[in-house]
C-alpha cells in the first residue's frame, strides 16, 4: 500500500509544522544547520539519513524535550499550528500533550498496562473512573493492542513483549489526543512481525494525526510515508513526495544514500 504523495500535494496541503532556520547546538557543537521544512498535516513524513546526521536531534526540537539537558540549545523558529513553540512563553506541558513522542526502545513506565495509558490522561484531564477506563480502552484499540491485553490490564507493562511494549507506548502517546506524533526509529528494536503491525498502525494513524517517522529502513520509509526528508550532516538536503525521492531524487547525496552507496 503506497500512498506516496505528489509534489503538488505537498505544496497544496496545510502544514502542521513549519521549521524556519533551525540551528541546534550540543554545548559548543552545532548539530543542525539552517533546517527549513514544512510537515504536511495528516500525512506521514519520513526522515531518513545516515547515522549521526541529526534526525533525532531535529524531531526532539518539536516537543522541546531537549530542554531537559541544560547544554542543549535550539535557535530559529518551529511553528506548530501558527505558534512558534520555541518561544519561552510556550506552555511545555500543553505542547507535550499535543506532540506525542515514541522512542527507539519501548519505554513502558514501571506500572500496570492500564496505568501506563491512564497516567498521561490523568496528567491532562480530570476524568471519572468509567470515562478513564473507556479512554484507556479506546487508546489501546487505536494502538492495535487491545485484543492482546484486554484480559491482563492489571499486569505490569514490562511483562509484555518488546513489540507489544512499543504499541503500548504508541497507545500511551495517542491517549492524550495529540495532533502530532513523533516516532524515532520505533521499529529498530523489534522483530519483523511486530514491525509489520506497527507499520499498519502508522497507516491508520494517518487519518487523524500528523506523523513524523525517523527510520533507517528505506523500505519502511517507502512503504508507510507520503513524504520524505533526507538529512545529511545536520542539513536537510532534500524534501519531497516519497515516490519522487525514491525514484527520482534531485540531489546527488540523496541518490547516493538511497542506492546504498554510503550510510
Amino acid at each position: 500500500m503506497n500512498r506516496a504523495g505528489s509534489a503538488e500535494e505537498a505544496r497544496s496541503l496545510p502544514s502542521k509544522v513549519s521549521v524556519r532556520n533551525l540551528n541546534f547546538y550540543y554545548g559548543g557543537q552545532q548539530a543542525l544547520f539552517d533546517n527549513n521544512i514544512d510537515i504536511p498535516e495528516k500525512r506521514v513524513t519520513a526522515i531518513i539519513g545516515p547515522s549521526g546526521c541529526g534526525k533525532s536531534t531535529h524531531i526532539r526540537v518539536y516537543n522541546r524535550i531537549y530542554e531537559l539537558y541544560r547544554t542543549h540549545r535550539a535557535e530559529g523558529q518551529v511553528v506548530i499550528d501558527g505558534k512558534n513553540i520555541l518561544l519561552p512563553s510556550v506552555d511545555l506541558i500543553d505542547l507535550r500533550k499535543r506532540v506525542g513522542m515514541i522512542f527507539q526502545r519501548p519505554t513502558p513506565f514501571p506500572m500496570t498496562i492500564f496505568d501506563n495509558i491512564a497516567y498521561g490522561l490523568k496528567l491532562h484531564y480530570r476524568v471519572g473512573r468509567t470515562e478513564l477506563s473507556d479512554r484507556v480502552e479506546d487508546a489501546l484499540k487505536r494502538g492495535a493492542l487491545w485484543d492482546e491485553v484486554k484480559d491482563k490490564l492489571g499486569e505490569p507493562a514490562n511483562a509484555l513483549s518488546g513489540g507489544q511494549q512499543q504499541r503500548l507506548c504508541i497507545a500511551r502517546a495517542i491517549a492524550t489526543e495529540p495532533e502530532l506524533i513523533l516516532m524515532d526509529e520505533p521499529c529498530s528494536a523489534i522483530d519483523p512481525v511486530a514491525t509489520a503491525k506497527i507499520e499498519d498502525l502508522i497507516q491508520t494513524l494517518r487519518d487523524n494525526y500528523t506523523v513524523v517517522l525517523v527510520t533507517h529502513n528505506m523500505q519502511q520509509a517507502a512503504r508507510v510515508s507520503d513524504f520524505t526528508a533526507f538529512f545529511y550532516k545536520g542539513y536537510i538536503i532534500e524534501f519531497g513526495a516519497t515516490k519522487q525521492i525514491f525514484t527520482n531524487p534531485a540531489e546527488r547525496e540523496t541518490e547516493d544514500y538511497i542506492t546504498g552507496r554510503f550510510g
Binding site: 541544560r70 507535550r96 506525542g100 522512542f103 498521561g120 491532562h124 491482563k152 505490569p156
Partner: protein, 310 residues
C-alpha cells in the same frame, strides 16, 4: 588428562572454595548466637521473660531489665528514620534532577565524605558542639512553642534522647542520600524523557516514574540506614545521657542497647550483671534479625507485586 575433566575439576575446586567461604559466614552467625545464648543463660534463668518488660536497672541490688534500653533504641532510631528518610530523598532528588551538575558533584562528594566519617567523631562533635546548641537554642524554642506536648517538656539539658536521635539522623542521612542518588542516576534517561513526553512536570516524572523505577533500591537504602541507626554505639553513648529510664519527654536522658553495652561492660563485676548485658546484646541481635527479615519480606513482596497481577 583431557580438557573437559580438567575443566570439571577446576569447577569443582572453585565450587568448594566459594562454598566454604560462604560456610564461614554461617558458622560465624551460629557461633555468635551460641555465645550470646550461653552467656545470657544466668540472666534468663533469674529474670525470665520479665527481663524484656522490666525497666528496673539497679546493678547494686542485682535488678536488671531491658525495657528502657529497648525503648531508647526504638525511639532514637524512629526519630532518625522519620527525619532522615524524607530529607535524604529530597536531597537525592535535588542532586540528580534539579541541581547544576557541578553543584551536584560538589555536594555529592561532601555527602560521601560525611558517610565515611567515623562515628566517634560524630559523638565528640555531638557532645561538645551540638549538645550545647540544643541546650541553648533548640530545646528552649521547642519547649516554648511545643511545650504543651509531653515530648518537649522538662529542662533543656543538651544531651538526651532528642539529641541522640538527631545525631543519628545526621549519621544515616548521608548513607541513605548517597545510595538513593545512585539509584536515581540509574534510571534510564529515555524513561524520564517519556514521562516528560506525555506532559509530566519534573516533580511528577520524579515521583511517579523515577522513584517508582528505583523503589527497590531505595527501600534497600532505607534499611541500610535503619540498620546503622539501630546498632550505632559510640555517637549515641556520647550524647544520650546513659540513664536507664523510660521518659515521655525527648529532652530527658535515656539509653539504647548498644550504648549500655558500650558503657557498662567495664563496670560489670557481678556475674549476673555481665549475664544481663549479654542478654541485652541478644535482644539487639534479635531486633536486628527481626527487622532484616521484615525488610526481606517487604522487598520480595514488592518483587512479587511487580511480577504478578494487581
Amino acid at each position: 588428562m583431557n580438557e573437559t575433566t580438567r575443566q570439571r575439576r577446576v569447577d569443582r575446586a572453585f565450587r568448594i572454595l566459594t562454598a566454604s567461604c560462604a560456610l564461614v559466614v554461617i558458622v560465624l552467625m551460629g557461633g555468635i548466637l551460641f555465645e550470646l545464648l550461653r552467656n545470657s543463660g544466668m540472666s534468663m534463668k533469674e529474670f525470665g521473660f520479665g527481663f524484656l518488660t522490666s525497666d528496673a536497672w539497679n546493678p547494686g541490688a542485682g535488678e536488671f531489665g531491658a525495657a528502657s534500653s529497648i525503648f531508647g533504641t526504638v525511639v532514637s532510631t524512629a526519630i532518625a528514620m522519620l527525619l532522615a528518610v524524607p530529607l535524604s530523598l529530597i536531597i537525592a532528588i535535588y542532586l540528580v534532577e534539579v541541581a547544576h551538575p557541578r553543584v551536584s558533584k560538589i555536594v555529592g562528594g561532601g555527602i560521601e565524605l560525611l558517610a565515611a566519617v567515623p562515628s566517634i567523631i560524630y559523638g565528640m562533635w555531638g557532645l561538645f558542639v551540638f549538645a550545647a546548641l540544643m541546650q541553648e537554642h533548640v530545646q528552649p524554642w521547642l519547649g516554648r512553642w511545643f511545650g504543651f506536648l509531653p515530648l518537649f517538656q522538662g529542662p533543656p539539658m543538651g544531651i538526651g534522647m532528642l539529641t541522640a536521635g538527631l545525631i543519628l539522623t545526621l549519621m544515616v542521612l548521608p548513607f541513605i542520600t548517597a545510595v538513593t542518588r545512585d539509584v536515581l542516576q540509574m534510571v534510564p534517561p529515555v524513561l524520564k524523557e517519556s514521562a516528560h513526553g506525555v506532559g509530566a512536570t519534573m516533580w511528577e516524572a520524579t515521583r511517579h516514574i523515577a522513584l517508582k523505577y528505583g523503589r527497590r533500591g531505595i527501600v534497600g537504602a532505607v534499611f541500610l540506614g535503619f540498620g546503622r541507626a539501630l546498632g550505632e554505639t559510640m555517637a549515641v553513648t556520647f550524647v544520650i545521657g546513659n540513664s536507664h529510664r523510660i521518659s515521655s519527654s525527648l529532652f530527658d536522658a535515656g539509653n539504647t542497647i548498644a550504648s549500655s553495652l558500650a558503657n557498662e561492660f567495664n563496670e560489670a563485676s557481678e556475674p549476673i550483671y555481665l549475664s544481663s548485658l549479654f542478654e541485652l546484646a541478644l535482644v539487639l541481635f534479635g531486633l536486628t534479625l527481626l527487622f532484616q527479615t521484615l525488610a526481606h519480606f517487604w522487598v520480595s513482596r514488592m518483587q512479587r507485586q511487580e511480577a504478578g497481577s494487581r
